[in-house]
Assembly symmetry: C2
Homo-oligomer: 335 residues x 2
């Protein structure tokens, strides 16, 4: 934790507007002051753009999703790319809104063989064992962006000793430990749980996008997707595949009327919200560039520390820790 | 944790419909099977009933709040009782809806001295030190419902040894430990964080109701209230007074359009949702009786265990733990 504080201190020293007697910067102010090099552009090919039917006042409702980076959930993501390229979701609908849980969309007739929309050819069938992708830290150099202890908010370091020391610090400070896992962190802008040195799995935080499925061994194709709109339902981790996160427009989903049927399904077709189109970002004209604050940057470390220890004027008593889902990864549009 | 499992096993044995070869009951099924004696009636005098203006289709929108039990936040709750009795909120509005955070209501002109609605006489001014109410476990017998280790999901026991043993079990199982605190539990149906043996404070879970305030030393009167509608903002714990929780109708707040101004405030008056009335339950005709599942009951222990370890058919891999805010306290209407 000492290093985190140092990182924050270094950042403060670098910002002339924040002299010693000025208020301590809020997490938002730290993000606003982050240097350009700490931001990572998201390729348009990794974006999924959903346009709902306009609202009752005719205002457009666009939701932008960033797909998860390799090596996670790539089979489902491949299916999603196929479905989007085939314009398969056009004319489907949001069928389920369950309060403090999820918004879910897809073919409303999926369970009715006579009416169900045919899926495009070439979709991959995924297996249960792929819910938690193995990601061996010891061989992480094989990835083009190697996993290091930096992903745990620790000083950069790649030796076993450094990683172990880092882990010790985290366990002592309780900073990233929670009832679900001992070691949590971020990888390429996404929240992950890391198990004892050999596995990682994505976390169901607010705004994360997952793959609806029937009872096991069904794993879902990716044609039915949901977004978390409540307190992180972490019991779904490793039980359902996560494929991305909403980076803009989640309010168009979270503010939809709740369904009054079981599990929040709408009871009548007219209650559903129509989906006008879902496209891969590369196919959408005039889409702005989005960037996320590198979760391996010093700015992010300072931001995460400030989220865990609010020292800005409103706060009387800093919490001394933060839930991984209470450290949302900052995203911005590039002007 | 062994005792929890035993409690669950005992419950199973007591339910003839759930023989050994039947699926393991879900948390909802455990709640449905809870005996009548495990439910606690909430006095109408502890309810706050908010009627919003009907929605665009003319449907009524009622939100029912249970006020927090003594000894917590009683000064603010006293103010709230005064404000409700004076019908002070009638004609005020929901002024702020911030996605994944809070819905807030009160006098929209509160910050404009010329237009602000006068507060009723007799409101108490609370101090910062009252945010976290001291609740000494050693003297807890003074309360009419003594605090025992049962509040930590442990076998009943009141000696220091029993409490220490209980705490050990919790720490080992990680069950109630989180980045914010080592020991969390429930007291009279509300989620609480317990510090090392002498203090407790309420937790900002989804649906909890808190008191809006300006910068410290202002502590808020209770005239401006908010409800959590996103991932638990635990950094607010001990910084803002919590006074209750929504037990019915939270969807009428969580599905409101998000405000587009700073902090989710609406930018124009017409965007606000009018509050028709807020009354203490005792003043509302025809109000049903509400009961919550006693958080000291064996049914609740089995339910909490099932939430932490989903073994029902949908789940492949139980989580092995649960965030305190992922164990919402069940509430029902009595027929």
């Amino acid at each position: 934790m000492k290093k985190l504080l140092l990182a924050a201190a270094a950042l403060l020293a670098a910002m002339p507007s924040l002299a010693e007697d000025k208020p301590v910067p809020s997490p938002g102010e730290i993000v606003a002051a982050a240097p350009k090099g700490d931001w990572v552009a998201i390729p348009a090919s990794d974006l999924l753009v959903m346009d709902l039917a306009p609202d009752t006042k005719g205002k457009p409702r666009r939701v932008v999703i960033q797909l998860m980076p390799p090596p996670f959930s790539q089979g489902w993501i491949g299916n999603i790319r196929l479905l989007a390229a085939a314009h398969w979701w056009d004319g489907t609908a949001v069928n389920r809104v369950q309060d403090n849980y999820v918004v879910q969309w897809g073919d409303p007739n999926a369970d009715d063989k006579a009416k169900a929309k045919a899926l495009p050819a070439g979709l991959e069938v995924m297996s249960e064992s792929q819910y938690a992708t193995k990601m061996t830290l010891e061989t992480s150099r094989a990835l083009d962006d190697p996993i290091t202890s930096a992903h745990f908010f620790c000083p950069h370091g790649t030796s076993t000793e450094e990683r172990n020391a880092c882990r010790e610090v985290i366990l002592k400070t309780r900073g990233r430990r929670d009832p679900y896992n001992d070691l949590n962190g971020f990888y390429r802008g996404f929240p992950f749980a890391f198990s004892t040195a050999t596995n990682a799995w994505p976390i169901h935080c607010y705004g994360m996008v997952g793959v609806g499925r029937d009872l096991s061994p069904n794993t879902g194709s990716g044609a039915e997707l949901y977004v978390v709109i409540g307190h992180a339902p972490r019991h779904l981790d490793r039980n359902i595949a996560l494929v991305g996160r909403v980076i803009e427009g989640v309010e168009h989903l979270s503010s939809l009327p709740r369904g009054t049927g079981g599990l929040g399904f709408y009871e009548t077709p007219k209650e559903r919200t129509k989906i006008r189109s879902i496209r891969l970002g590369a196919e959408v004209k005039g889409l702005p560039t989005y960037e996320y604050l590198s979760t391996e940057s010093q700015s992010f470390a300072a931001y995460a520390d400030a989220r865990a220890n609010r020292r800005d004027a409103f706060f009387i008593r800093p919490a001394g820790g933060a839930d991984i889902c209470n450290i949302p990864v900052p995203v911005r549009r590039v002007k």
